[in-house]
Symmetry: C2
Subunit: 334 residues, 2 copies
């Protein structure tokens, strides 16, 4: 922890030139003699000079810093989005300021002000679910991009997983395996994710001219609910030969309960989960076929579009990102 930080002034005087020349030499500008440039660079290296980003930002109005505002980073979904974004930024020279509002609107406003006073170039808002959330973009002097949870204002830029398409993809896989008696167990109805996935199922079944077995079972996103629903389903609809679950947790619970009741997976019943939460999907037996929402890619894409928006090339609207199916043992061919 040394004393005063070294400034471009120190570099200039060590090199025996003016500040202006030193600046030009360091920034690779043209009108400076090669020998002079070398002298300046040597001086900068000797003093291990680091230009002060605050001064630079004050002057240019660009901080090369973006804010990442998350409602609930404890959640399963914020983290990969966050990592993807950080990844996209890290590649360049951008820095990321992380703020967690803990689902509190007041705190969110507070963090927003903190970010703006630090003059970030843009903001990514990461939702905790795919339910639309209140927009924060009104009258903001910087662009905002929403990731995972879309803004409720269609003028904003949002990136969300295509849950309808992902669910349809899963069900088409079951149909391709020859399964025709397909049931659906999922999370709470007030989650748009649950409703979208049920809708994807409906579309895929309709396209195949197939009927869903039983009603959709709405519950919670837990393993416990998966077990409970399994018991209800196997009692009411014993002839079911495939179950599409709204999450890997539900699927893991279902598989466990089904096995206890003497139904083999995938022999008697094929099972597909959702989320590709690896600790569950790869470690349960059989390993779960599941839908992966490509959340890191989603985060990266959101970050790249924030760049574009900072450059004035915004693309308003809700952008749905393709999911992909990860096929594992729970839907192995019969």
């Amino acid at each position: 922890m040394a004393g005063r930080r070294v400034t471009i002034n120190d570099v200039a005087s060590l090199a025996g030139v003016s500040i202006a020349t030193a600046s030009k030499a360091l920034n690779g500008r043209q009108d400076v003699r090669a020998s002079t440039r070398e002298r300046v660079l040597a001086a900068a290296a000797e003093l291990s000079f680091q230009p002060n980003a605050l001064a630079r930002g004050l002057l240019s109005g660009q901080t090369r810093t973006v804010g990442l505002l998350t409602s609930d980073s404890v959640g399963r979904f914020g983290i990969p989005v966050l990592l993807g974004a950080e990844d996209a930024f890290g590649a360049g020279e951008m820095a990321v300021m992380l703020c967690d509002a803990r689902g509190d609107a007041i705190r969110e406003q507070h963090h927003l002000r903190a970010l703006l006073s630090r003059r970030v170039d843009g903001i990514i808002v990461v939702g905790e679910s795919t339910n639309p959330r209140p927009s924060v973009s009104k009258d903001l002097p910087v662009p905002v991009v929403y990731a995972y949870g879309p803004s409720d204002d269609p003028e904003d830029v949002s990136f969300v997983p295509d849950d309808v398409g992902g669910a349809a993809m899963a069900v088409e896989h079951l149909l391709a395996l020859g399964r025709r008696r397909i049931a659906h167990i999922t999370g709470p109805r007030h989650y748009k994710a649950a409703r979208d996935r049920a809708e994807g199922l409906r579309i895929a079944l309709e396209a195949a001219g197939c009927e869903q077995v039983g009603e959709t079972l709405w519950g919670s996103w837990s393993q416990r609910w998966g077990r409970h629903a399994a018991e209800m389903l196997l009692m009411a609809e014993p002839e079911v030969d495939a179950v599409f679950c709204g999450s890997d947790q539900v699927a893991a619970g279902f598989v466990e309960a089904a096995r206890e009741r003497g139904r083999s997976v995938p022999g008697d019943i094929a099972v597909i989960g959702y989320d590709n939460w690896e600790v569950l999907s790869t470690e349960t037996r059989p390993a779960l076929t599941t839908v992966d929402m490509n959340l890191e890619l989603l985060g990266r894409t959101a970050a790249q579009h924030l760049f574009a928006a900072i450059d004035g090339r915004a693309t308003p609207g809700v952008h749905r990102m393709r999911c992909h199916l990860v096929i594992r043992d729970s839907t192995a061919a019969a």
Copy 2:
């Protein structure tokens, strides 16, 4: 996205005072008449003035921003530490800059330079394991605190979980339940966490005058290894009545395999895990008794000590933080 940002100059001219007076009024300084102060505050509110943190930081040399440098935030352990730190900072007016080096030393240096050029007031380094890691603090102009993974330089400030104590606590719990034939299944030997936990076990057994059943089984941190080790252990040492596992994943695997071999948990064998990774520890059946490392608290504490260090009150050395035992069904009284 409006035009020019509003500055203290705009506030001053709207209020009809000089910028010096405006600044004093806004910052609650003494020598300004009450009526004047009110006029300035009203003007600031009307223009929704946000002081430019860059200018302020440039002048004061304090940015009220800290860097969070993580080696691998995908990992299980970085996240809660990070959240705890963010929590501690968020309470005040601090902002957090997040950098993920992805385990790459070059990238780490790169991020370090980026943070320093932005003049952060301090840095927290979050390790990916409890193995000591190379220090970055040499000749840095700001204080650094290490969380979870300690620095290899004893002059630095590090906060790590007390794995020896946590393991001893777990084993004492088993002994208190009357179990005497205790075995140990854990992760790879090159993890200090694994070695520390084995050491805690040794100490607790020795204090009770008890012998460990079989050799410690070193493997990986996976459920698969837990299952595999269970088969080996139950074959070789059928009289075992308790197993202390080095992680919840291992414990979950053990429980599953033991049940398949007809051993009931906790009836025949009590099981304790480590980490309190909730998706595993609460959802397996029976729910796992496990050691919680209080990682959020650890992160918060590290952040608070970074504050202290910024104020010049550093406390060098490796600080070990108490763990606590979460008792669930897998060690219910026989």
